[in-house]
Amino acid sequence: MANKIPRVPVREQNPAVRATNFEEVCLGYNLEEATLEASRCLNCKNPRCMAACPVGIKIPQFIEALKVGDVAAAADIIAQDSSLPSICGRVCPQESQCEGSCILGIKGESVAIGKLERYVGDWRLSNPKEAEVAASNGKKVAVVGSGPAGLACASDLAKMGYSVTVFEALHEVGGVLVYGIPEFRLPKKGVVAKEIESVRRLGVKFETDVIVGRTVTIDSLMDEEGFDAVFVGSGAGLPRFMGIEGENLNGVLSANEFLTRANLMRAYDEQYDTPIYVGQRVVVVGGGNVAMDAVRTAKRLGAEATIVYRRSEAELPARVEEVHHAKEEGIEFRMLTNPTRVLGNEQGWVTGLNCVEMELGEPDASGRRSPIEKAGSDFTVACDVVIMALGTSPNPLIASTTDNLETNRRGCIVADENGATSRPGVFAGGDTVTGAATVILAMGAGRKAAKAIDEYLR
């Protein structure tokens, strides 16, 4: 019988303290807490959580193993479907996936599936297991990009006996996991580096500072360097701007720039040379995870920080937990507000953001009610820095330097559900195919493509 206790609270850093440091906010469960929380699971015959998981993790099964404290078995069960549990446990939008479908959530609180997954994932990172690697089959596969899609594809292929080289444009491996998502949400040394290390242990080679399309091309990799197939997991890194007046003033930047300076380039650490500027007051435009990460980073760097979002709180696309944490940390939220112009002084530095109030109209194509401007509602928010977190699209570099690689209207590489593109031998998956999405979907796409590549090369 399931234990009818309330959801076991997870330990977190005190909001007032954590708003001034970059250590992880959520401290996670220990074994005792994890087993207790696991005991709440009803082990449904028809597990709705599992159906709602984008990669179909056998959730009730791994939780059953946890109930009896068999963490190793739980880890093995998760590993069948996910290669990055300690990461997904931290960053998946559980409220709209597994936990959002949990029966317990209808009347009370759902099982903390994400926190349990994280516990199991972290346990595996500290208790690594020798992976079974097939004998080398002599075939070479190139993986472009080292985000979750590339990492997942590379590790599955390596296990099947392929010789895999990952080419990464930046100087560090990990994609958004290192340049985008901040340390306080996803520790780099403690989690991301360990996941990458486990991929390295499988024999996967990493070459950083290689920009495919510039340093090499897909064709040169296949024709000159002898790669039998290529997986493109190059993400959706191109930032969007609003196109409003004053957007090129000093002090307006993309969330990608701001977060890259802070995370990849460690601007918050005095030991690093990277400059970063927050001034007294930062306004972040947008309502997704990227906006939350930017605004909370700005706060930690000492600025007063505000979110400006054109719809209402109910439409915020960010994970619920991030919005909750941001509020606890003293972030100001200005909903139903849309910027119209960035104001600057004579030297060309930002002094404020002109906005209008919005109200919600009819639902649009995305099903969300579309915001409409309230006439005559102009007002100004004073600030020194404006960070645009309006979404990103795939970088056209690879498509534009690879003949016959089909892309769609939004610049995404066209691939079927197994990742096959219009070019034989070239597969793609993750954000570069879907547009900016989630870690778990990218990971899932990388794994599917690995299977398809194996079938293609066999």
Binding site: T208, I211, T215, V216, L238, N248, D273, G348
Partner: protein, 294 residues
Amino acid sequence: MVEILSREMLAENIWQTVVYAPRIAKSAKPGQFIIVRADERGERIPLTIADYDAEKGTVTMVTQALGLSTRKIVSKGVGEHFADVAGPLGRPSDFVHETMEELQRKRFVFVAGGVGTAPVYPQVKWLKEHGVEVDVIIGAKTKDMLIYTEQMRAVASNLYIATDDGSEGFHGLVTALLEKLITEQGKSYDCCVAIGPMIMMKFVTLTAKKFNLPCIVSLNALMVDGTGMCGACRVTIAGKTKFTCVDGPEFNAYDVDFDEAMRRQGMYRTQEQRALAIAREREQGHKCNIGLDK
């Protein structure tokens, strides 16, 4: 890690460094640049490519040591390593895509200022190798600050030198020299390429305009990734926002908003000065006592 094969001081604070980077050497084309990170804690610094040799696998860069990061770059000696060198980045110069017939009919004049002389060199060299006649103007404050004059003489049809103080060649600015060549020496050109400090490129553009001479400039915007990911390198070209690192670095000079570009270069100036001051203090071995490291 990228090995440094040679290092040489060309003028005060201006250094030439040759590294072993075979993939970049093989793919590089005139007009492109690289990003260098001196060490694990360094910034990603964009530097134009001064030369490349696909056979030897070498890439040459010329760096003016101004801030903390460029000082780190020039302080690395032979046998030492840079943490990272990535490239080639940006679009190659437009002329690379023109047909030989088109090209050989054209008369090019390159206007190079200061360290901007280095990236002009591979362009002129490429054109020379393809049988195109090129005139080059090199400008510097004074004779001692001139770089790459010998290399350039070997590939340019005519080399003209201008110094602000008249210590070598023409006494005055490159713009005055360009104007003189056209009005007094009867030179006529079909394309001007200016690479140097932003202010110089702005004025070369104005001069070229007077003669209806098409003009191209190579912008040295602030960058982080150099691959189109951050938008730090935004410039306004013909009223539209472009990313210097992927849409450039070369643009039609008439379309560039130079004033905005110059302003945007100063985005992190105060912080860079502060970082440099702290580094100097640390070098001198005492703790900063005016609170700069707080």
